[in-house]
Amino acid sequence: MLVKQISVFLENKSGRLAEVTKTLGSNNIDISALSIADTTDFGILRLIVNKPELAEGILKESGFTVSCTNVVAIAVADEPGGLAAALEVLDSESIGIEYMYAFVGKTSNQALVILRVEAPEKGIEELTKNNIKVLTSEEVYKL
C-alpha cells in the first residue's frame, strides 16, 4: 500500500523546476502528483511518478540531490468533513503528519490526498480499519 515519493532539492532560482520536469518528460516518466515546500533560499519538490526507481536514478545522474520516501495515498469523499474524518483516525492513534498535499485525480467525487506520516504502516492499518480508502501504489502510479 505504500507509495514511493521522490523528493528533489531545488535552489530558488529560475528554470530549476522546468529542468526536473523536462528530464522526467524526456525519459517518459509521468507525474501523478506534486507539491513544493519552499523557504527563502531553497525548495523541496515532492513527486509521485509512475516509475519512481527510474526517476530517482535519472535525476541523480542529472546531478540533482534526490531522496525516496514512503508515503500514504488516500481517497476521501469530496464533501465537507471528508478529510477531517481521515485525519481524526490518525490523530486518535497519535500518528503525526509531517506534511500532506492534495492532488487531482481522474476519479469523481473523491479527493486524493498524499500523507507523509511518522508510522506509515500503522497509519494504513488504522485508516483501512476505519473505512478510509487507501490507494495502492499501482493505483496511484496509474493516475
Binding site: F9, I44, G63, T65
Partner: protein, 433 residues
C-alpha cells in the same frame, strides 16, 4: 620505513646544527657579496656576515618578502652570473607582478634530492608508476615532482594538469601507483571517476602526494576513501625551491623538512619575534644550499608550527604542522580575523557536509556580511524542510560559537560552486574598501 637519504633524514640534532651553521654562514657571505639588494638590507639593519656565527644569529638577519622579488624583477635577487642559471620558473602572478626564480645545475640536483625524499616518504620506489598531474611549465609543481620521481628511478607519467577523462583512463591503463596533484583536483578526479564508471578497485593506485593548497583532515579522509589510497600532504613554494620543502611520512603527523637544505622558523607576523617550538605563527624559510636564488628568512605568509620531536618513522628532521591558513588570505570580518580554513573545519566537524563551500563577504550599510554557501549532499538531504533548516541553523551556530561572527548559511545544489582543476576558490570578497 624507507628513507631516501638516512644520513641527513635521521641525523642527530647536534650534527644537524653543525651542518646548518656551516651552510648558513656560507650562504650569508655569498648573498652579501653577490646580491646588492640584500647587502643594502643587511647594512640598513647594521648586520655584517661576520655577525652570523651560530643558528641563533639567524634572527639578526632581515626578512625577505614576496614584494622584494617583485621589486627586483626579474633577476635582481639572483646570486650567480646568469650564465650559471639552467632553469627559470615563475609564479602565476595572480596576486601581482609575477615572481621569477632561477636554478643552477646544482640547484636542480638539490631539488631532485629533496623531492626524492618526499616521494620516498610517501612510499614511492623505483617500482612505482608516478602520474604527475601538477601543471608542467613555469609553475614548479610538475617539473619539481618529475625530477624527484626520476631520481628515485620510478616510471614517470608526465601528463600535467587537466583533461580529467584522459587522466583517469591513463591511471587505469598504465597502472599508476602514485598520483601527484592538488588535493582539490584529486577530489575532482574521484567525482569524475564515479561518473566515468571507473571503480577504485580497477586502479593500482596506492598513494597520492597532494599539495600546493591547504586542505583539511576530512578532505584527506574523503580522498583516501574514495580513491582507496594513502593521501600524503606535501608542501613547497617556488621561492624556496618548489615542491619538496616538506612532506608527511605515513605517520601523517606533520611534514618533515629537509633541514640540511632549508631552515624553518615560526614568527609572530605582527611583532616579527621568533616563536618557540609548537607555537602557531608565520612560517619563515632560509635556504642554505641554494646557489641561483638563495633566500634569507623568506616570509611565506603560511600559518603553521614546528615540532622538533623525533618522529615515529625514525626521521629526526623537524616537522611543520599542516598549513592552517595564510596571513594574507586572512579576512577581517567585522574586526574579527577569519581564516577560510577555520570555517572549513567548522563545516567538516558538522560531519554532514561535503567539503565544497564558498564564502561570500559583502558590506551592506557599512556592516560586513558573511554568507556561506554549502553544497547539498545526498546524505544531508531530507524531504522535510525542518531537517534542512536544522542543518543551516547548526552550521550558523557552530560558526558563531567558533568565530564569534554571525553568518548567513545557504544550502545550494550540488556542483553550484565552481570546481577548478588547479586551486579551489573558496572566497569571494565583494567589499570595496
Amino acid at each position: 620505513m624507507q628513507y631516501w637519504n638516512p644520513t641527513y633524514e635521521c641525523m642527530s640534532r647536534e650534527e644537524m646544527t653543525r651542518v646548518q651553521t656551516e651552510r648558513l654562514i656560507n650562504t650569508v657571505k655569498r648573498i652579501y657579496h653577490n646580491v646588492p639588494f640584500f647587502r643594502d638590507k643587511m647594512q640598513k639593519k647594521g648586520v655584517e656576515p661576520g655577525d652570523i656565527k651560530s643558528l641563533d644569529d639567524l634572527k639578526k638577519l632581515p626578512f625577505t618578502y614576496k614584494q622584494d622579488l617583485r621589486d627586483t624583477y626579474p633577476y635582481g635577487l639572483f646570486a650567480v652570473p646568469l650564465s650559471e642559471i639552467v632553469r627559470i620558473h615563475a609564479s602565476s602572478g595572480t596576486t601581482g607582478r609575477q615572481t621569477v626564480v632561477g636554478y643552477t645545475r646544482r640547484d636542480i640536483d638539490t631539488w631532485a634530492e629533496v623531492m626524492a625524499r618526499t616521494l620516498t616518504c610517501a612510499g614511492a620506489s623505483k617500482e612505482s608508476f608516478i602520474q604527475v598531474a601538477y601543471g608542467y611549465g613555469l609553475f614548479t609543481g610538475g617539473l619539481g615532482v618529475h625530477y624527484g620521481a626520476e631520481r628515485i628511478g620510478a616510471s614517470v607519467i608526465p601528463i600535467s594538469g587537466g583533461n580529467t577523462k584522459r587522466q583517469l583512463q591513463i591511471m587505469k591503463d598504465f597502472g599508476t601507483t602514485i598520483l601527484a596533484c592538488t588535493p582539490s583536483y584529486a577530489l575532482f578526479m574521484a567525482e569524475e571517476m564515479e561518473e566515468a564508471g571507473i571503480k577504485k578497485e580497477d586502479l593500482k593506485l596506492k598513494a597520492g602526494v597532494f599539495g600546493a593548497e591547504p586542505w583539511s583532515e576530512n578532505m584527506r579522509k574523503e580522498i583516501e576513501e574514495r580513491l582507496g589510497i594513502l593521501a600524503i600532504d606535501i608542501y613547497g613554494l617556488s621561492e624556496v625551491i618548489g615542491p619538496g620543502v616538506a612532506s608527511e611520512c605515513p605517520c601523517k603527523c606533520g611534514m618533515h623538512i629537509p633541514e640540511d637544505h632549508f631552515i624553518p622558523e615560526i614568527i609572530d607576523p605582527v611583532t616579527e619575534e621568533v616563536l618557540p617550538p609548537g607555537a602557531k605563527g608565520e612560517l619563515v624559510f632560509t635556504t642554505i644550499t641554494k646557489e641561483g636564488l638563495p633566500i634569507i628568512r623568506y616570509r611565506t605568509r603560511d600559518i603553521s608550527s614546528l615540532n622538533y620531536e623525533v618522529c615515529e618513522c625514525g626521521r629526526t628532521s623537524v616537522r611543520m604542522d599542516k598549513v592552517s591558513g595564510r596571513t594574507d588570505d586572512m579576512l577581517i570580518i567585522r574586526g574579527v580575523n577569519v581564516f577560510p580554513s577555520q570555517i572549513e573545519s567548522v563545516l567538516l566537524e558538522i560531519g554532514e557536509t561535503a567539503p565544497h563551500y564558498l564564502l561570500i563577504v559583502d558590506r551592506k550599510d557599512n556592516l560586513d556580511m558573511l554568507e556561506i554557501w554549502v553544497e547539498m549532499t545526498q546524505s544531508m538531504f531530507s524531504d522535510e524542510v525542518k531537517r534542512l533548516e536544522d542543518i543551516e541553523r547548526k552550521i550558523r551556530k557552530e560558526i558563531e560559537g567558533t568565530l564569534g561572527i554571525t553568518a548567513k548559511v545557504k544550502l545550494v545544489e550540488p556542483k553550484t560552486i565552481e570546481r577548478s582543476e588547479g586551486k579551489a576558490k573558496r572566497v569571494i570578497d565583494k567589499r570595496k574598501l
